[in-house]
Subunit: 422 residues, 2 copies
């Protein structure tokens, strides 16, 4: 059996070289390879050009055991990945009847006639392992060269096809080549910066070899990945769980909002659902971003009573009952307005939790006293009210970032509130 | 002077190989290189490993005239890009006083003490062209090898530093190497698919060599890039303008929502602002996405009266005046409910335009009659009302995509309405 010591990704598509699309396939596959414990040392991208594609693939097969290619499996004349890989690995293309039938069925369901071009997609290198495509016409494949100990995997480029094919077909295939298991758990942290987390956990991170603990920053949050290696999943799980308990006892503990929970909004919807609580938001500077993120989560309809965007002062007064006096005395961007908005929207919708945002998202509107990034996030329940004052990016952050971080804080405060309510 | 016939991008960072971040730098730089008329044939990524980085850079300098590297300019021991490039191109690192002073000033402003590590960032290859970093401590640089006719440009990895440095410093630098100008304009199309656009414009696209016309699909929209080459910008502009007028006269014309306008929401806010019109949204399945996207645009506070998320039927009744009869007879996901929501929210906020969405975003909630992706988008003005029925992705699209496309349709219908109103 071929031994996979190293892998690399080779993406094919002129649209990548033109910057028309961002290469999310490479990031997705990299994450999955890391989780499988397969080392990846190189990534490359070439356009739809047969010579350069050949050159890149030859180099990749020289320096790595496994080459995962994406793109260039489409039906048109400039889709050449399969032809190039087959030629380099000395395989004939043969009609693969099962794939042809699948393409036929797929097109039939959509009432589209089969063309010669589509038929071309069913010609596969002799002896290839075929990966079914449930989201498009191009099948994926693995070409194994036992003699050289090399494998080339070819996947369609569109993420909607590439990602599920990788999860459903490629991962089970690759697992056959390894007996060592890697198992990871993710600790989600909000409210403590990456360098502070690192400082606090330095001893643990530098001394623990199995599991390893590694921090990753992502838009205002920190993810700690705990990864254990071993011969069985159970063994790895125990190692990870012990480490998680250890970290919970450090000062980082109070900023942990969940384990393997996905996003802040996933954690919020799941907490609200579990407790049968409902929430409403009144949004000024986030303009619907809080509601949009909560409703990203399937099942959020059961927990979101409603949301109202209250940009103008008169809307704040009329709908969420912010007093004119507060607006005149403290301004729309203030601690007091945030509280009244949160209380007002909670009462308006009769919710358990009301959350609000008001601030200056920029790029204009900042003043010396309240520069861009000044945001007040309010929370109101029947037990307590609270406001968090943010200064996102010291006046340097862009509009999207200010709004994103503000919405994150609103969602995190709501999560804390939900945890306190019974 | 060095002649740049080909370029490639080499990104450095183990976090890219682990898939912890998506490589947006490569896409950004690619777009900019294309706009500058510089051909790019390869992209690669390596980790923070000196041997592999050396190997990759040597290869890149062999096959391309210009190599743009990102990442690995940070202050820590595993940031090795500068050291590796300097060694390969036989330059000594010398303290660059101006960069040291800039780093000092930057840290001072934030009350951070200068460390030896930060000082390391001010050591630059002798004779390098230095690019100022206004958003971080690491300066960028270009190392020119006149003898071999090669240039290596080194940029910081974080997009917040890389992108402005490229625009403000690298582009003016690169323009010195070219006398031929490329000039592009973008035609934004919504409502006609990419293949239909291609079919309609096939003759134009295949026969016109200057300007060229190329279509790009992006999330439910099509972008047509018209690119002219010449010796002056004026000359190119005229060629582009003539082509745009020609395309406007084809059946594609009625689906053009703007030229070089950015996004649908940019076009909407600019149209509303120009006409002094105001808008409000009532959102069910999009849950705030329409408002969120409108408020992405700076200046939207002047045109968005408000928005309300009306998930529950009782919220639809109470706030935007959808009649119980309509809800009972036709259901919440219906033509009739969409119209009443749009009308209701327009009246609630006293706006010129009301827009609404109601549908099934999935992954659950679909039925044989109304599968996932069934969405009604309503529009109401004092002149007319309209509803668009969508079937996003034939029941196969994911929640985010259904919501995104629904919001796009709402924004586009509002834009059409705004164009009709005076």
């Amino acid at each position: 059996m071929i031994k996979i010591n190293s892998a690399e990704i080779l993406c094919v598509g002129t649209e990548l070289l033109l910057g028309d699309i961002v290469n999310t396939d490479a990031a997705f596959i990299s994450r999955r390879l890391a989780a499988l414990g397969i080392n990846q040392y190189f990534q490359s991208t070439v356009g739809d050009n047969p010579e350069r594609l050949s050159e890149a693939l030859r180099l990749a097969l020289d320096r790595s055991d496994l080459v995962i290619m994406t793109g260039g499996l489409g039906p048109t004349y400039d889709d050449l990945t399969k032809e190039t890989a087959a030629r380099l690995m000395r395989r004939e293309l043969k009609l693969h009847e099962e794939s042809l039938a699948r393409i036929h069925a797929r097109l039939d369901r959509r009432g589209i006639e089969m063309t010669e071009n589509n038929k071309k997609q069913a010609y596969l290198p002799e002896g290839a392992v075929v990966f079914k495509n449930n989201y498009g016409t191009a099948p994926g494949m693995a070409i194994e060269d036992e003699e050289r100990g090399k494998i080339a995997i070819l996947l369609p480029g569109p993420p909607r096809e590439c990602e599920p094919m990788f999860e459903e077909e490629v991962e089970p295939y690759l697992k056959k080549f390894s007996s060592h298991i890697l198992y990871s758990r993710n600790i989600h942290i909000f409210g403590m910066g990456e360098s502070k987390v690192e400082d606090t956990l330095r001893d643990i991170m530098t001394t623990s070899l199995n599991p390893t603990v590694a921090p990753y920053a992502k838009s205002g949050e920190v993810l700690l990945r705990v990864t254990a290696g071993g011969s069985s999943e159970d063994e790895c799980k125990i190692l990870c769980d012990e480490m998680i308990e250890k970290i919970k006892l450090t000062p980082v503990g109070e900023f942990i909002y969940g384990i393997d929970i996905g996003t802040l909004e996933d954690a919020l919807v799941s907490e609200l659902t579990a407790k049968g609580l409902k929430i409403a938001s009144a949004e000024s500077c986030t303009g619907g971003y809080v509601a949009k993120r909560i409703t990203n989560v399937s099942g959020s309809s059961g927990v979101l009573d409603g949301s109202i965007v209250t940009y103008a002062n008169e809307v704040k007064e009329r709908f969420v009952n912010v007093s004119r006096e507060t607006l005149t005395k403290f301004g729309a961007v203030s601690h007091e307005t945030a509280i009244e908005m949160a209380r007002g929207v909670r009462e308006l919708f009769g919710s358990d939790i009301g959350v609000s945002t008001t601030g200056i998202a920029g790029p204009t509107g900042g003043t010396p006293e309240k520069p861009v990034g000044t945001v007040f996030v309010g929370i109101s329940t029947n037990k307590y009210e609270d406001v968090r004052e943010l200064h996102v990016g010291n006046g340097l952050a862009d509009r999207e970032y200010v709004r994103y971080i503000s919405a994150s804080n609103a969602i995190e405060m709501a999560l804390r509130a939900a945890k306190k309510l019974s």
